[in-house]
């Protein structure tokens, strides 16, 4: 086993992340129960989802301990997904517009 592995193989980190994933899920569920306005809850849900995904990727998937080359190689192509959303959602809105006009 390499020294690097030994340093990062710490069960405490995993348990802490596990705990926070539970807490964040509970918070998301409670926000849903509170019936806030759509915009506010959408922002909160997205923030919580990004926090959970960040925790999973950084600690469970060890991305935080990998070389920056790998981190960039994994994260940078995701900008294309943002482009896909930016392209499709206005399109969907305009389809809705033509449907309701009829």
């Amino acid at each position: 086993m390499s020294q690097l592995e030994q340093k990062h193989s710490n069960a405490k980190i995993y348990l802490t992340v596990w705990f926070w994933l539970f807490v964040l899920s509970f918070i998301a569920y409670f926000i849903d129960m509170m019936h806030l306005s759509f915009g506010l809850s959408a922002v909160l849900f997205t923030l919580i989802a990004l926090m959970k995904v960040g925790l999973i990727a950084a600690y469970f998937m060890h991305l935080r301990f990998e070389k920056l080359n790998l981190v960039y190689a994994v994260l940078s192509p995701l900008i294309l997904l943002v482009a896909l959303v930016a392209a499709l959602l206005p399109e969907a809105a305009s389809i809705l517009g033509t449907l309701t006009m009829r």
């Binding site: 193989s9 919580i48 999973i56 469970f60 998937m61 070389k67 969907a92």
Partner: protein
């Protein structure tokens, strides 16, 4: 005016990760392949989720997800309870997987097998919940592009298509993950990785399983909560 060329010594070039003869990503080829697979799969789910968003926006209105996924318990409807249970089950399985990777790094054969089995068990519970959910909705008359013309479905045809595609695709990933993890657990139990002197296969399987959990976070948020 010509810009001044910056001179770089050969030693400096050779220091770079990309100068050749080095491993620029600092991980084994197996792990790198898994990362590349995960990236491509992320685009698959990203595409599916984006199309779901587009279909939902262009539908103008949507089903009442809280009612659709309510669980009837103790004489009353508890909204979204089933999904909450499924989320906690999947997070738990991811936690067991993290512990399995931890034990694998310490070359602890028995614990690795134990935690891998627990991971599979929780994955199986998740699939059972999903089978229950599918059965319930199919009995209520939901099909791809067919929806009952009454609350909470309101005859929104796109809902069934999005639901069965997204959750079906994710469930398929969970199912293949369980088979994958069982195969790895069997090899750990047989002592294959002890003889090889490396438990990296467990770490690579862990990457896949955590990815499946990561995708569920997005589906849970954008499909069920929104």
């Amino acid at each position: 005016m010509q810009p001044e060329a910056k001179t770089v010594s050969l030693e400096e070039v050779m220091k770079s990760d990309w100068s050749g003869g080095k491993s620029p990503f600092g991980i084994s080829w197996g792990k790198l392949m898994m990362w590349i697979f995960i990236l491509s799969d992320l685009f698959t789910f990203g595409g599916l989720l984006t199309v779901y968003g587009a279909l939902r926006v262009s539908s103008g209105r949507w089903v009442e997800t809280e009612q659709v996924f309510a669980l009837h318990l103790f004489g009353k409807d508890l909204p979204l309870l089933l999904i909450a249970i499924m989320t906690f089950v999947l997070i738990s399985s991811s936690g067991w997987m993290a512990l399995a990777v931890h034990s694998a790094q310490n070359h602890d054969r028995k614990r690795t097998v134990l935690y891998l089995s627990l991971t599979c068990l929780f994955g199986l519970i998740f699939l059972c919940c999903q089978a229950y959910e599918w059965t319930k909705l199919i009995k209520e008359g939901l099909r791809p592009w067919v929806a009952p013309d009454k609350p909470p479905f309101f005859g929104i045809r796109n809902f069934g298509a999005c639901f069965f595609t997204l959750t079906g695709f994710h469930g398929l990933h969970v199912l293949s993950g369980i088979i994958y993890l069982l195969a790895i657990a069997l090899r750990v139990a047989k002592g294959v990785y002890d003889r090889r002197g490396s438990y990296e296969a467990v770490e690579i399987a862990g990457l896949y399983w955590h990815f499946v959990d990561l995708v569920w976070v997005f589906i849970f948020t954008f499909f069920y909560l929104f």
